[in-house]
């Protein structure tokens, strides 16, 4: 279920209202972006996706006066922020390690759908998440930003601090690695 909704033609008026502090505008922006941001953070393996998402939206409020562009640019701008806040969170947790399993994200996977199809899908999704975790960090960043943020190559390049050509190469190699692992899931274990 895709719960994210685009603001659409009203984006500029919503943006202007948000800059003046209108509550309805903040709610509109939050509802349109929060599900996708939290989904990206979950897929990226954030131990506390909601907490990081909260930091992202606080930064959004503080920096919204400096943003210029359309809705697509706004979404990529917020995803870049989410990516950076996630890296900050992971860095902070490395300094203070703790064993956290995100049960709420797994519970969310099991919600909805018919029992048989849901179980099959969740297994496949869990397997895919595990395979994504085996990619190199740059490959993982590029693929998830492309999939969840729907960012262009140039926007991903800006987010991860690489050239567009390097981003294309990382995406291609990452997808090939995922495909190979899905076809031969136990290949690495036999080596």
């Amino acid at each position: 279920m895709d719960t994210s909704t685009r603001i659409g033609d009203n984006f500029s008026s919503v943006l202007d209202a948000a800059r003046t502090g209108a509550d309805w505008a903040w709610e509109r922006i939050y509802d349109s972006l929060a599900p996708t941001i939290i989904g990206y953070l979950r897929a990226r393996g954030a131990p506390d996706p909601e907490g990081v998402a909260g930091d992202v939206f606080i930064q959004l409020v503080r920096d919204i006066g400096r943003f210029e562009g359309d809705e697509a640019g706004f979404r990529s701008w917020v995803f870049v922020m989410a990516h950076h806040r996630l890296l900050d969170d992971l860095r902070r947790r490395r300094r203070r390690p703790e064993t956290v399993a995100p049960p709420e994200s797994m519970a969310a996977l099991e919600d909805g759908g018919d029992l048989e199809g849901g179980v099959l899908d969740s297994v496949t999704t869990a397997e895919l998440r595990a395979l994504i975790e085996t990619l190199t960090p740059p490959q993982r960043d590029v693929i998830l930003l492309r999939v969840f943020g729907d960012l262009k190559v140039e926007e991903v390049a800006k987010a991860v601090g690489k050239r567009p050509g390097a981003v294309k190469a990382l995406q291609r190699r990452g997808l090939e690695a995922l495909r190979a692992k899905l076809e031969y899931p136990f290949e690495d274990e036999g080596r």
Partner: protein, 221 residues
């Protein structure tokens, strides 16, 4: 697995992970956003203050600098400060009045004006019938009369002497001692390039005592 199947799997992953946050989380996030919106309105004021203070400081410094310079130039600074500033200014080639020049306003007065003023004061004193007016001021006490070039004892400077000597035209000195190397007007004998020193007299006739071989000398000589 084909590329399309992989894309479908990734799309399924995106859809399943993209879920709305709980209402509690949503409420908490929105409250944090509202709180964060208030802060930036205060922040620029805090940021603006240092800039304002800096402008005030620069203005005050410029005022002190310009005002102090003007006061120093006119000699209206307090005496110790005036002396100090004049001393520093002299070091960089500026001429500012010292305390003495400032406290004695007549120090820079024209001698003729000073004489006229002193004479006027003496006359006023005499008219008032005072007995301690002192001696009558005379011009010699104020005006130093230097002899003119034409009054030089030599008196020989006629049209024919024009251009014969730089010093005659510009220096009215009458007691000038001629330089030992000078013989007569404008004639200069070349100064000896080498004056024998006492130590060199001892070596006369014996050649140089220098053991360092000269460039022209060779060991076989």
């Amino acid at each position: 697995m084909t590329r399309d199947e992989l894309d479908q799997a990734l799309e399924r992953l995106r859809v399943e992970l993209t879920t709305s946050p709980d209402s509690d989380v949503r409420t908490k996030h929105l409250a944090a956003m509202k709180a964060a919106f208030v802060t930036p309105n205060l922040a620029p004021r805090r940021i603006r203050r240092p800039g304002f203070a800096r402008r005030v400081a620069v203005g005050a410094a410029a005022f002190v600098l310009v005002g102090g310079t003007a006061m120093a130039a006119t000699g209206t600074l307090p005496a110790p400060a005036q002396d100090a500033v004049a001393k520093v200014a002299h070091g960089v080639g500026l001429s500012l009045p010292h305390r003495a020049e400032v406290t004695n306003p007549r120090a820079n007065e024209n001698p003729g004006v000073a004489f006229a003023n002193a004479k006027k004061r003496w006359l006023d004193c005499e008219k008032s019938g005072a007995t301690d007016c002192g001696p009558k001021p005379t011009a010699q006490g104020f005006i130093h009369v230097s002899p003119k070039p034409s009054e030089s004892p030599e008196g020989s400077e006629g049209p024919g002497n024009h251009g014969q000597g730089f010093e005659h035209r510009h220096s009215p000195e009458t007691t000038r001692t001629p330089h030992p190397t000078e013989h007569g007007e404008g004639q200069v004998t070349p100064r000896p390039t080498h004056t024998p020193q006492p130590t060199e007299h001892a070596d006369d006739g014996h050649g140089s005592d220098d053991h360092t071989p000269r460039p022209s000398q060779t060991p076989g000589d």
